[in-house]
Amino acid sequence: MAERQLMTGNEAMAEAAIRAGCRTYFGYPITPQNEILEYMATHLPKVGGAFLQAESEVAAINMCYGAAAAGVRTMTSSSSPGVSLKMEGISYLAGADLPCVILNVARGGPGLGNIAPAQGDYFQATKGGGHGDYRLIVLGPSTVQEAAELAALAFDLSDQYRVPTMLLADGMLGQMMEPVSLPEPRAGADRPAKPWALTGAKGRNPNYVASFALEPTVLRDLNLKRHARYKEIEAREVRWEEVATEDAEILVVAYGTMGRIAKTVVRQARNQGVKAGLLRPITLWPFPYAPIRALAERVTAVLTVELSAGQMWEDVRLAVEGRTPTPFYGEMGGVVPTPSEILEEVLRHV
């Protein structure tokens, strides 16, 4: 059993990444995720890895593109305005089928916004952000422990499917301290081989990493192949947590920081005799449409609570497809509601 340590979410994700075999990190300071950059600066060189503070977010993600093309596990981290700058590079990573892990410790927006926790980057993370027909695998941790576990999982999923993978955390999770059992360091032997990587064309034909295909039918076919992989991910990798859903009469759907608050709300509702349940998406893409749809058949309402104007709410409504009412409660600008505020909302819809 791994020893439990007290760490911030930012530190835990950074350490978990190193233990998962991340050997190149490129980043740029932005609050509230600077501890990731600083942790990597201190600890990555100790395991023979390369740390570099880039001149910009744009440069950092393109350094990741180069390191990923060279076949090395690579990561960058940032917060909302910085992730917007990385979107060009993320589209290129997706277009070149390169694995890369991106940590977004999101903050209030749009624009410069503030440094408080928010979930307004959901659309950008799950629906595109950069140009073109692509997907990211998006994971939404809700505790420091889960942040560490999902950081490690992100590298495996990204390598396995050759899809850039984002951890969508927020400032609350990045800054809070909790006890965490870190994943054990793993050898590289169990990882997928990378015969496509740029290692020098010795004894083989040259490898090319590019997202460029001038001929329309060629580009279409490349996109179709990629989308076949996305279908595979949708079939295999949907992850979610259910709390007290067996006999639930009202279902709350929430992820990340809001997901952990909603867990408290469900317990409080149950204490008052209200049969509330929670479904917490862990993969935001692929989204758990099927389990939400199944639960929607037998509850009187599906309440989405979110630190945004209702971005994930759109996916919840797609899942529910009119089977039951789908009220929404959200906060923005870095305001985090208290459990009692959400409880009031739950009671309103019973």
């Binding site: 570099l52 440069a59 593109y65 590079g89 070149a96 020098g200 064309a201």
Partner: protein
Amino acid sequence: MSSTGTMTKVFARPKSLTDKQFTYCPGCDHGLITRILAGAIDKLGVQERTVFVAPVGCAVFAYEWFRCDGVQASHGRAAAVATGIKRANPDLIVISYQGDGDLAAIGTAETIHAANRGEPITVIFVNNQIYGMTGGQMAPTTLAGQRATSCPEGRDVRTMGHPLPVAEMIATLGAPAYVTRQSLHDPKHIVQATKAVEKALRYQVEGTGYSLVEILATCPTGWKMSPTAAHKHVADVVMGAFPVGDLIDRG
């Protein structure tokens, strides 16, 4: 009279090039630069550990022309991509090939900072004073008064700035090992440019550090000149604005 000597091959396609045909316009200097670079890779015997960073623009297919591993970078980001490759695997020889829009406009930050860190990469900077691929718009290097499709009355330095002296800017930095500007307008200068490219690559192989070779190149299509007139224009006009020669050699 009879000759008893054996035939010696003095000119051949470099081994580091594939059989794929270049997509450059007739008379353009890109073909020559590509060939010079492939020759340098051959000469140093590093084809099997070279990674070529292909640009956007006229050389966008370059990763298909070199018999080396290759990666295509987005507009302006080649120096960052090259940095990532080199940091991930310092044994690789990393060459970034970029035009003036790529390197000196959208990619200025990446260019300056990779040079300032002294990344041990080799940058080939093709300065033809115009955006070729997109149809002849103004570049940061477009000469004062020169016409382009986006400065139809000629570049007015009062509103559009002066031609950007890239080699001179990079030469102010402490880290670079070799910074030079070369031209291809006549055989003598072609020989000098070939030597400069070889030296730049050799410095990377030997671990000396970052090198940049700025090469004054022609774009007969964009300039609306014959290839011969274009080379004369380089000698008569372009070299006045962009003097050739080594600026830094810390080898």
